[in-house]
């Protein structure tokens, strides 16, 4: 296992720049998830780490050693591919030991490693089968087994769960997380699924247009998104982004959503980042997670970090675990995640509590977090 350092990685194909100065430092044993919509450059970045593509600039170091110029086979990195890439002409056993065979590891050690890996992944009974005789989940395990057998310093996972059906995807996600905890391996994992990113990562790099929009822990990325793109991309339902006007002075700042008298609301802010003062009297985008809103019970009082607002319910969507309510908040649509038994009807006016500790503001021009 080893630390990974990406410094100013650039990549262009002709005039098209795919990656712009990507720098990510990853400590030993971290689980980094590269997440973003398709075409954001996350797979290109992974291929550069693997050595399958050459960067146009910048450097890749693994465990303090510069590996930018090394061929993929000498990087001590193994990869699990989206299509599993199992060799169809070889049995499961041969597949798993292939990287060892290529490295001229002796037969006894090979057999030992295959046995250990097969036991770990519970595929011992499949060793003599060919890949075409396996189900999707089994193939996935074999692909992971082949990556493990080599005991590399870094694992790469390229959308490994996207070919599995929904239930199996959840199971394998947990398996991968367990595996990470057990091995303490350094992992880079590419996905376009933000839930996978949240559940697996110790750190997330949200990418768009070849630029890292935010690099942070799942908590940071979710609760303090660096810009409106991250706010909208991470989380389901997406973060509510509502245009509002900021008024008042330090300590007494408040935001106004919509027009007073026409269902407009005012929310007094607690002590917030000083940078926010500069926006007094100007427009901001207010970001509030759906679960930062709750239904105010009869006679409930707002806590120190809560504010009471009135809104009209437009649509109710029960999901079982909770109920999503689409609200009209000062003329803007706003989703709230409420308790499953919330007794609300469409068209009804109701009173809600907003947790202002979870409220963030963005500059409407730059779309960056005001922090």
């Amino acid at each position: 296992m080893a630390a990974l350092d990406l410094v100013n990685i650039r990549k262009s194909f002709g005039a098209t720049q795919i990656l712009h100065d990507v720098s990510i430092g990853l400590a030993d044993g971290e689980f980094l998830v590269l997440v973003g919509p398709s075409g954001c450059g996350k797979s290109t970045l992974m291929n550069i780490i693997a050595g399958l593509e050459e960067p146009s600039g910048g450097s890749v170091s693994l465990g303090g050693r510069d590996i930018t110029q090394l061929p993929p086979s000498e990087r001590d990195v193994s990869m699990v591919f989206q299509s599993y890439a199992l060799y169809p002409n070889m049995t499961v056993e041969r597949n798993i030991e292939f990287p060892l065979r290529m490295r001229k590891v002796d037969a006894a050690t090979r057999a030992e490693r295959v046995r250990a890996v097969a036991k770990l992944l519970q595929i011992e009974h499949l060793l003599q089968r060919k890949p075409r005789q396996l189900s999707g989940g089994q193939r996935q395990r074999v692909a992971i087994g082949r990556a493990l057998a080599r005991e590399p310093r870094l694992y790469l996972f390229d959308e490994p769960l996207s070919n599995l059906d929904a239930q199996l995807r959840l199971d394998m996600r947990t398996e991968i997380k367990k595996l990470h905890q057990r091995l303490g391996a350094t992992i880079v994992y590419v996905t376009h699924d933000q839930i996978e990113a949240m559940t697996l990562a110790t750190r997330i790099a949200v990418m768009k247009g070849g630029v890292v929009q935010q690099l942070g822990t799942p908590y940071e990325v979710y609760n303090r998104p660096a810009n409106t793109f991250v706010a909208g991309f991470m989380g389901s339902p997406r973060m509510n982004l509502v245009p509002a006007r900021l008024a008042g002075t330090d300590g007494t700042l408040e935001i106004a959503i919509g027009t007073e008298g026409q269902r407009g609301v005012r929310i007094a802010l607690p002590a917030m980042p000083a940078a926010l003062n500069a926006f007094s009297g100007r427009d901001v985008l207010v970001g509030i997670r759906a679960e930062a809103v709750s239904l105010a019970r009869e006679g409930a009082a707002a806590g120190s970090m809560q504010r009471m607002i009135d809104a009209r319910v437009v649509v109710i969507e029960p999901t079982g675990a909770d109920t999503l309510a689409l609200l009209d908040l000062g003329g803007h649509e706003f989703t709230a995640r409420l308790e499953p038994d919330a007794a609300l009807q469409p068209g009804q006016d109701a009173r809600f509590l907003i947790d202002v500790a979870k409220l963030v503001c963005f500059d409407p021009q730059t779309e960056q977090l005001i922090a």
Partner: protein, 287 residues
């Protein structure tokens, strides 16, 4: 539902037509086989279509081991061997080179790959006659003129265009992740080819082998131009058998000889014809 019945009038007509066409195609084969088992007198008596009255294997034995080929009464046997010594290495070498070319043209993006492939493809359309004189010169320079090795060389060179075409189209549709994975797993240039690509190339290998085998086995012009009496392939020997006149034309021996020459290609087709069609389709559709 009457169209579905095997005995509907249209069906009967269709089958009758097919049977008629098949017979038309098989007629020459019938004539060859029937007459190869007749004594010469029966052929001279006139009826080529009749079955032998007196069956004899004498013409077959003669064609195989005693018939006059040019000046020597060796039969086709030594030339049959020559053809094998020519075909086996020529097929193996041209197939391997085709696989190597296909691998390089598809897995390594280098400048000029497309024009290079176009040029190799163009070689497929060059008629044999055009290369005769330059090839004779080349063989002379290499010291391979008049040898089986020289013929192997000529047929390999001529076959590379075809084999490259086959393998390039097959490998263009080969899952790139397998190759990437093998590279990460530590396979080098030849490791990828021998461990990953070739073991998963059975259909296209079969197509290439059948194609090259039949072409080289049946090839006459290069054989006639670049070999001498010690290295004649079977096709040239067959021609000599027919043209070596000792006064009487031994048609029964000629028929038997022609059939002997056709047996290996027939065997190859019967054994792997279905793969041939399948492989050709795969290459053409996916490439």
């Amino acid at each position: 539902m009457s169209e579905r019945s095997a005995f509907a009038p249209q069906r009967v007509l269709l089958y009758a037509l097919l049977v008629f066409l098949a017979m038309l195609f098989l007629l020459p084969v019938y004539v060859m086989v029937a007459n190869s088992f007749k004594p010469l007198d029966e052929i001279r008596a006139g009826d080529l279509m009749a079955l032998p009255v007196q069956w004899t294997v004498e013409p077959w034995l003669a064609a195989w081991s005693t018939a006059q080929i040019g000046v020597q009464p060796t039969g086709l046997r030594p030339y049959f061997l020559n053809s094998f010594l020519l075909v086996v290495p020529a097929v193996i070498i041209s197939t391997l080179i085709g696989a190597l070319n296909g691998y390089i043209l598809t897995q390594f993006r280098f400048r000029g790959a497309a024009p290079l492939f176009a040029a190799m493809l163009f070689s497929v359309f060059i008629p044999f006659q055009i290369v005769l004189i330059p090839m004779a010169k080349t063989l002379g320079l290499l010291g391979l003129a008049g040898t089986v090795k020289g013929l192997v060389f000529v047929n390999v060179v001529y076959g590379i265009g075809f084999t490259t075409l086959f393998f390039r189209n097959y490998y263009a549709a080969f899952p790139p992740e397998l190759v990437r994975s093998a590279r990460m797993d530590g396979a080098g240039f030849f490791g990828v080819l021998f461990h990953i690509l070739l073991p998963n190339s059975a259909p296209i290998i079969i197509v290439t082998v059948i194609w090259q085998f039949t072409n080289i086995w049946n090839e006459f012009l290069f054989g006639a131009s670049f070999s001498d009496y010690s290295s004649y392939p079977l096709t040239v020997a067959l021609n000599n058998l027919v043209n070596s006149s000792t006064g009487i034309k031994e048609y029964n021996v000629h028929f038997a000889g022609a059939f002997i020459a056709a047996i290996p290609t027939l065997v190859v087709y019967v054994l792997s014809g279905k793969y041939f069609v399948r492989g050709l389709m795969a290459g053409s559709v996916k490439g």
